[in-house]
């Protein structure tokens, strides 16, 4: 009986064996992953405790690189990662920092804001990085902000944004509003006309930017003749374009983001509106985006930045050449890419000056630090931790590059809360 049972009862079907295998694989995978990473964490922590200067032991120092490598933002953010890795490579090639090699730890923010918070926490707590370079959207920065403040980390954020922020643990290497939007509006009023049509994607940056523009127009004698928001990814602009046709503004101030720009500019051209009729001033279209939208529909329209690939400095020539050699001749550089590259070098300079990787000492050393970036000389403002930057307005050419029409001549002092503009009083307290 016993033997019979063995033979018959516990025979398993092949399909079932399969499932068993699968369960085994999945559970080993999940549990193994969890336990292993936890064990590794612990082992690492112990090591670090021994050597006391966590994350900086031996002859390497870790830095975090946290951009969206997947999801909707990947198309923009991958280039920033490339630029930052290139800067790290340069520093390592010239002997590293305080005789240590920089080791980048790359994480994917996945265009998802809690993921940015999670990965920032991981970089600071587990890898104990000396600095994080990352973010693009304001939402991702807002998600990382409490994490870097609580863990006393250092975040370098490389994209122009809507201002109204100044965290002691963040350095902002992109423009704030008074280095991009405000001078652009003044220039347009002087050179293109008084009537403005505001068009933007429906999220924080365009809404805040337009509040500022409206206050400024009111003070400087301009007029808003229309204000429209479309959801991110929106592609039908026929209604809005017929409105533009109706009210005939001198300027369309465009804060659309991403794919929507492709649809908007194509439909604008199809509707027979040329840059001669209406000037479109964009704040989110750089060389990288022009490549995606197509220079033929954009030619003649304007954009405002702090850097163009055509900006004429010796540092920029070397930077563009190196970037193209490394990542391909078809690649272009643009403002956020340059700001990300500059961020790494600024951090390195501050570390050298401080003689330490300690966050407080690096911050202290960074105040007032000057650096010859591809965009020209920039200076870290100690009070706001933003950069002094030169403002540039450019016209898009048929080859996808910018021709600079105007620049501010010298770096403009960052003023994220617009304290020096009386008309902005109601906007910030």
């Amino acid at each position: 009986m016993f033997q019979m049972n063995r033979g018959k009862g516990v025979r398993m079907k092949p399909a079932f064996m399969w499932k068993l295998w699968l369960l085994l694989c999945v559970s080993v995978f999940a549990l193994g992953g969890c336990a292993a990473s936890s064990a590794v964490d612990q082992a690492k922590n112990e090591n670090q405790n021994d050597s006391s200067s966590a994350g900086k032991e031996g002859d390497v120092v870790k830095v975090g690189i946290l951009h969206s490598l997947s999801g909707t933002m990947a198309i923009s953010e991958v280039s920033l990662r490339d630029a930052e890795l290139m800067a790290i490579e340069e520093i390592n090639a010239s002997g590293g920092l305080l005789s240590k090699k920089i080791e980048p730890v790359v994480e994917d923010g996945a265009s998802d804001w809690p993921t940015f918070a999670e990965k920032a926490k991981k970089l600071l707590q587990k890898d104990q990085v000396a600095a994080i370079f990352g973010g693009w959207t304001s939402a991702s920065r807002k998600a990382m902000l409490p994490v870097v403040e609580q863990n006393h980390g250092l975040l370098w954020y490389p994209v122009q944004y809507e201002g109204m922020e100044s965290s002691p643990n963040i350095f902002y290497t992109g423009a704030t509003t008074n280095q991009q939007i405000v001078p652009a509006v003044s220039w347009l009023l002087k050179n293109r006309g008084k009537t403005f049509f505001l068009l933007g994607s429906d999220y924080v940056f365009p809404r805040t930017a337009n509040k500022i523009i409206k206050a400024q127009l009111k003070a400087e004698g301009g007029q808003v003749v229309g204000e429209e928001y479309t959801p991110l990814g929106h592609t039908d602009y026929s209604t809005i374009i017929s409105k533009i046709k109706q009210v005939k503004p001198a300027v369309v101030f465009n804060t659309l983001n991403g794919d929507s720009n492709v649809a908007f500019f194509k439909q604008l051209k199809d509707a027979g509106i040329t840059p001669k009729d209406v000037t479109v001033m964009s704040v989110s279209i750089a060389e990288e985006e022009i490549r995606g939208i197509g220079p033929d529909v954009l030619a003649g329209h304007l954009a405002v930045w702090n850097y163009f690939q055509t900006t004429d400095t010796p540092e920029n020539k070397a930077f563009v050449q190196k970037y193209k050699e490394k990542y391909g001749q078809d690649r272009v550089t643009d403002d956020p890419i340059e700001a990300a590259y500059t961020a790494v070098h600024l951090w390195a300079e501050a570390v050298k000056k401080a003689g330490s990787f300690d966050v407080d000492q690096v911050k202290k050393a960074a105040a007032g630090l000057e650096y010859k970036a591809p965009e020209g000389t920039v200076k870290i403002d100690g009070e706001t931790q933003h950069l002094w930057k030169t403002v540039r307005i450019g016209e898009i050419q048929a080859d996808g590059q910018f021709k600079e029409l105007w620049n501010s001549g010298q770096p403009v002092k960052p003023d994220p809360y617009l304290k020096s503009y009386p008309w902005a009083k109601g906007l910030s307290e």
Partner: protein, 352 residues
């Protein structure tokens, strides 16, 4: 059955003891996953047991989270206007924000608001006998409506950035590890309670009616039951679970934005239950934990490839084990029972 109960005890004991064997960072991740597990229990109740596929649970999760976040934001602002209101040109705190200064109001609202919204929505639809795929589509529409509303009303909700940058809860610093451990335990306790309640519910008479509704709603109606009442009840209950999960999520992650109540997270919630086994409450919990652990683990180790790997994992599970991880366990048990029965039969043959 006795074995199973032991398994549950062991599982929850392991969760409770996690602070002693996980690092601070891993613990915070696990705490987040347990919030998702609470949502998954609710999904399993409505989808696995009652046959209602809701693709809109992100809204209930989000509402619960926003209620809690409003309290946290007010506490962090210390009597001033929240920062995003200041730069959006709001001069005074809107009336509906004011009650959220009291934590108890916020907690009550985090449960009540999602429940009420779900009750209203489900009453109107189920009463008119809208079900199946039409209900799923409707639930998606609700997601779109809410996300658009929350983004559009930047001066009230913080827009796409959402609410973030909190400092304290009940006066305890959110960044202190001890607070995080207490919050983790609170989450585990909530999950255990909700699990036990859901099990009680499904193993009794109510559970039988729910399954009957799933399998043949008209027959249930002809037998004299009113399926609408049952469906509205169970749907609202699962929304309440999602609200609780949202509130706990905000406390631990410190962030809520419209993105997290959108269509993709809503569908993800259904995936957790599907992977774990939607007809098993424990399966749904395990599914939520396994899927999210896999997501974190893969994205940490393969930042360039992780989406493909995660997708492959999901496809494999759905193709080979359509009943989810719980299905594997059940077929294991089935084989053992079969073996046992064969054993007994042979024994009987021997006797005769």
């Amino acid at each position: 059955m006795v074995n199973k109960r032991w398994g549950y005890w062991l599982f929850f004991a392991a969760l409770f003891l996690a602070p002693f064997y996980l690092t601070e960072f891993r613990l915070s991740l696990l705490g987040k996953f347990l919030c998702f597990a609470i949502v998954a229990v609710g999904i399993s109740l409505i989808w696995g047991y009652t046959g209602i596929l809701s693709l809109g649970h992100g809204v209930y999760f989000g509402l619960g989270a926003y209620c809690m976040a409003m309290y946290l934001k007010l506490e962090a602002s210390r009597g001033h206007l929240p920062d995003f209101m200041e730069w959006s040109g709001v001069r005074e705190l809107p009336w509906f924000w004011k009650p959220f200064a009291h934590p108890m109001v916020a907690i009550a609202a985090a449960i009540a608001l999602p429940t009420l919204l779900a009750a209203l929505l489900s009453y109107l639809t189920f009463k008119n006998r809208i079900k199946g795929v039409y209900f799923s589509l409707l639930s998606q529409a609700v997601v779109v409506v809410f996300v658009t509303l929350f983004i559009g009303k930047q001066e009230w909700t913080g827009g796409t950035n959402g609410l973030t940058n909190f400092s304290t809860v009940f006066g305890f610093s959110l960044s202190s590890p001890l607070t995080q451990i207490v919050l983790y335990w609170l989450t585990t306790a909530c999950l255990a309670l909700i699990f036990v309640a859901a099990r009680r519910l499904t193993s009794g008479r109510l559970g039988k009616v729910l399954i009957a509704i799933r399998d043949a709603e008209n027959r249930v109606r002809f037998l004299g039951f009113n399926p609408t009442v049952y469906k509205v009840f169970v749907y609202s209950l699962s929304a309440a679970f999602a609200g609780v999960a949202g509130a706990l999520f905000v406390l631990q992650v410190g962030l809520i934005s419209p993105e997290m109540m959108g269509i993709i997270p809503s569908i993800e919630m259904v995936l957790w239950a599907a992977v774990g086994g939607r007809q098993s409450l424990m399966g749904a919990i395990i599914g939520a934990i396994v899927m999210n652990t896999a997501k974190s683990f893969l994205s940490e180790n393969y930042p360039d490839l992780w989406l493909l790997l995660l997708g492959a994992l999901f496809v494999v599970v759905v193709l080979l084990v359509p009943k989810g991880l719980a299905g594997i366990y059940e077929s294991l048990v089935a084989v053992r029972i079969k073996a046992k029965r064969g054993h007994e039969r042979e024994a009987r043959v021997d006797v005769s």
